[in-house]
């Protein structure tokens, strides 16, 4: 008998054995449950019911223990070891997690790269996917003959995209040299100059953006740009508030958005910050500030349970941080580790939260306000000294008065060291922003005039920060350019970005798709857009759920189609939108098949998702311990996102 037939026969025998095993296990579990019922002095009829229930549920219960609980515990154990298949197992503590979360070492850097890729898919890919899905759903929501047929076609890619066959077809179509897509683009460009111009612009934009992104992933310093993003977000928030009255629904929507942003940011900070040794004691104060602002907003929103949750988590945080500080050994170079700043910071945070917890409901806000003020003051004092990148206070004044913060633009070492890698170290701007909004929320309703002035003043300050940090970024990049030109060095500081943006592409250029790291991610996104039919079905169901009367009333009021879309359709399908976003982000982390089929040795790292990294690390290099740590990090992120989805699935307040 040949090998395959033998294997199939073996498998059938195993399947039969499994059925017998499950049947026996079911009876046994059922009898056990009935025995338990008897011990609990339940009636015989009740015991019989329990027997049958457990008997029928047993296949799942047994499988749950064998394939979920057991493996989950084992993997938690492995994640603290350096286990490799067929090798001995040594306990290494948190080393795997530290390497992965801090991006240390070769594998840590590759994991960080995979997380950056997933982030790219989430911020660029998911919105494009959702737009496609929404466009499809809106089209199919028209009362036209044959929409059912079109729905069939629109959905077809979803079931095909799971398998390797259609992905290979895509790979062939995307071949940079002679592939259909490039040939079609060139032919269109030759036929009509406008298409040529479009193609070249497309190439310019994609290569410029991806060159920039790969510079960030590589860890090239981004300089003052890191202050631009928080400042811009603050301006966006404040300008929303400035637009007329700060109505309750708008306020609560803003609060929810900022809660989500805060939760995500807080999780990243906690994961990265607390695992690093030694951590900055002010991180504890910073997280304390975020939690205090959260508690305050929950309190103002009249949800005492949420406020209590914030307070309790603040206390847990500070106690945990204090314990960690006490348990931390001295550094390897012999310098003694002082736990004192940590204990002080923890005590400060814990005192505020404990005070707010025991204070009466009426006093709670003022305790939190005092805490916020004290924390902000501590941060300010800390800021006034210290290194530049930790957010010297002088920087803010420089930006407010249109000065450049770059003291020695001709010095390469200065440029590289004063602004280290793109990281979250612009945390102080974030902290300041959160403290500012905390004060705003606390004041809400209390003193309308002061609040108005604060909003206007805050807008001006953050707008100045945003504009001037952007201007300084340009100076920073051109300073690097000058230094590089003078030294004749080519390959550093956003070299791919420079190459891509130096000249506008000529007519001969074509997209390189899978053969270039600048194009691999856009290729993958194109394929996910092609298979976004699942999101379409969700949108379609939401669209069908909108009562027609809304549109009829809007018609009577003379609202245009565009107004109807933005004022009725979009708000009412926003739960579906949020659902699709979360599902899309989770799917981006888990992408595997398409990367496996589409990658080449040169584009592998620029494509890898978290799941693909897990696959390579565990099953190609057999590093079980580290793979287990990756899978736990991945699981934590996904569970967090799912909880977020449940919590905010009704994030839009329907104004009744």
């Amino acid at each position: 008998m040949d090998v395959a037939a033998q294997a199939r026969l073996d498998n059938l025998l195993w399947a039969a054995a499994t059925v017998i095993f499950i049947a026996a296990g079911s009876v046994l579990l059922g009898l056990l449950a009935r025995g338990g019922a008897r011990l609990a002095r339940l009636s015989d009829a009740e015991g019989r019911k329990i027997f049958w229930g457990v008997f029928f549920a047993s296949p799942w219960i047994i499988g749950f223990f064998i394939f979920v609980v057991g493996p989950a515990l084992a993997s938690l154990l492995y994640s603290f070891t350096d286990y490799k298949l067929g090798d001995s197992m040594n306990f290494v503590g948190l080393d795997n997690y530290r390497e992965l979360l801090l991006g240390e070492g070769a594998h840590g850097r590759r994991f960080a790269g995979a997380m950056y890729n997933s982030f790219y898919y989430a911020i660029i890919g998911v919105p494009l996917q959702i737009l496609t899905a929404l466009a499809m759903a809106l089209l199919l929501n028209q009362a036209l003959r044959g929409v059912r047929f079109f729905r069939l076609i629109f959905y077809l890619p979803v079931i095909l995209a799971g398998g390797p066959a259609i992905l290979l077809a895509w790979r062939y179509m995307l071949a940079s040299n002679g592939g259909f897509i490039n040939e079609a683009m060139s032919a269109a460009g030759n036929a009509f100059f406008l298409f040529d111009w479009l193609k070249r612009t497309f190439i310019f934009l994609v290569e410029g953006f991806n060159g920039f992104y790969s510079g960030i992933v590589r860890g090239d310093p981004i300089g003052p740009l890191k202050y631009f993003i928080p400042a811009l977000i603050a301006v966006l928030f404040l300008s929303t508030m400035l637009r007329g009255e700060w109505s309750d629904s708008r306020r609560s929507r803003l609060l929810r958005v900022s809660e989500i942003v805060g939760a995500v940011l807080g999780m990243v900070l906690v994961a990265r910050g607390l695992i690093a040794l030694p951590i900055d004691p002010f991180l504890i104060v910073g997280i304390g500030l975020i939690l205090a602002a959260g508690a305050l907003s929950a309190h103002r929103n009249a949800s005492p349970r949420a406020a209590t949750a914030y307070l309790v988590s603040g206390i847990v945080l500070s106690v945990g941080a204090a314990l960690m500080a006490i348990a931390t050994p001295s550094a390897e170079d012999g310098s003694a580790f002082s736990a004192l700043p940590y204990l002080l910071a923890s005590a400060l945070v814990a005192a505020v939260f404990a005070g707010a917890l025991v204070a009466s409901q009426a006093r709670r806000a003022s305790v939190l306000l005092i805490g916020l003020a004290a924390g902000s003051l501590a941060v300010l004092v800390h800021l006034s000294a210290g290194q530049f990148d930790q957010g010297q206070l002088g920087l803010i004044f420089q930006y407010l008065t249109f000065q450049s913060a770059i003291a020695q633009p001709g010095d390469l070492a200065y440029l590289q060291e004063t602004f280290p890698q793109a990281s979250l170290s612009a945390f102080w701007i974030w902290g300041g922003m959160i403290a500012f909004f905390g004060v705003l929320i606390a004041l809400n309703g209390g003193n309308a005039k002061l609040q108005r002035w604060l909003i206007v003043g805050g807008t001006v300050v953050f707008a100045l920060l945003a504009v001037n940090s952007l201007l300084d970024t340009l100076r920073y990049f051109s300073a690097f350019n000058d230094v590089a030109a003078a030294a004749g060095v080519q390959n550093y500081h956003f070299s791919l970005f420079r190459q891509a943006t130096q000249v506008f592409p000529d007519s001969q250029r074509v997209p390189l798709w899978m053969s270039s790291e600048l194009w691999s991610k856009p290729s993958l996104i194109l394929i996910t857009m092609w298979s976004s039919g699942a999101g379409m079905l969700i949108f379609l169901a939401a669209l069908k759920g909108i009562p027609r009367v809304f549109y009829e009333a809007a018609d009577v009021d003379g609202a245009s189609r565009v107004q109807q879309f933005f004022k009725i359709t979009l708000p009412l399908i926003s739960p579906a939108m949020f659902y699709n976003i979360v599902i899309g982000v989770i799917a981006a982390l888990q992408t595997f098949e398409s990367i496996y089929i589409l990658q080449t040795p040169t584009t592998q790292d620029s494509l890898a998702s978290a799941a693909y990294f897990l696959f390579v690390r565990t099953f190609r290099q057999l590093a079980i311990g580290e793979g287990a740590a990756v899978s736990w990090i991945l699981a934590a992120i996904i569970v967090f996102l799912t909880v977020l989805q449940f919590r905010y699935s009704r994030w839009v307040n329907y104004e009744s």
Binding site: L42, L168, M173, I538, Y551, A628
Partner: protein, 301 residues
Amino acid sequence: MSTLQHTPDLSVNVRPGRRARYRLNLDARSIVFYAILIAFSLFFLFPLVWMAGTSLKSIEEVGRPQLSLLPEVPQWSNYGNLFADPSFYRAYVNSIFVVVVTLVGTVGSISFVAYAFARLEWRGRNLVFALMLGTLMLPAQATLVPQYVLFYNLGWIRTFNPITIPGFFAGGAAMIFLLRQFMVGIPKELDEAAMIDGANPLQTWWYIILPLSRPAIATITVFLFVGLWNNLINPLLYLQKAELFTMPVFVAGKFNLQESPIPWQTIMAASVTFVLPVLVIFMFTQRFFVQGIAATGGKEG
């Protein structure tokens, strides 16, 4: 103009009688919509057509830059060569075998377990049910690594067991939930009548609930089928031996960067044979898919 937008419920069950409402009135607006719909459809169908067209081209034609969708001369021998390849047959039979065994085990055990959650009243049911729904949150990757170690220690690498056996333990919480929701809707009186006639729960399940749940069972079968047929990662991890390869691994393995020129016509011919069953099943059972999506949010399998 309000006849054109926001008509209620075109969804799954449009009764024949209602179709009369949608007359084909081609005003400017609907012509625009049809044009967009057709443009979208071309985008979605194109890779499939491209695949079929390429599978009939000659190696010379595949080698040059090209815009033509159809082959100059259809090369049916591409398929002849593929069918003459014993490893292709083996992979196809392996795939069918794996999918059938897994489906029997999974659907059987799921219908068993769903019955416990839907029709039986017992202490602890809600707890176990909540636990089961909780596993929906857990991503497959969380247990992938230790499961591999488990199967490695069982000596199951290079066998079909890691692929087929876990299904027998009611794998797939979403599918259990879907079937359970359906079973809850079956009238209670039927069970009670059976009980009075002296049937035990096992008999009630087999003679009453299972036959009545056929539509939902069809839904989960079709849905699971596509996921299993397409599944690449498990065969890739566990089979590791050319004789055991299923179609996804076989098709993926046909593609090899080292080869020059890459024999796309052969790869695409294998792809067509791989996609065909899914396509046929989808065409005939698409309404089941819509229900499956509603239950799972689009995650397959």
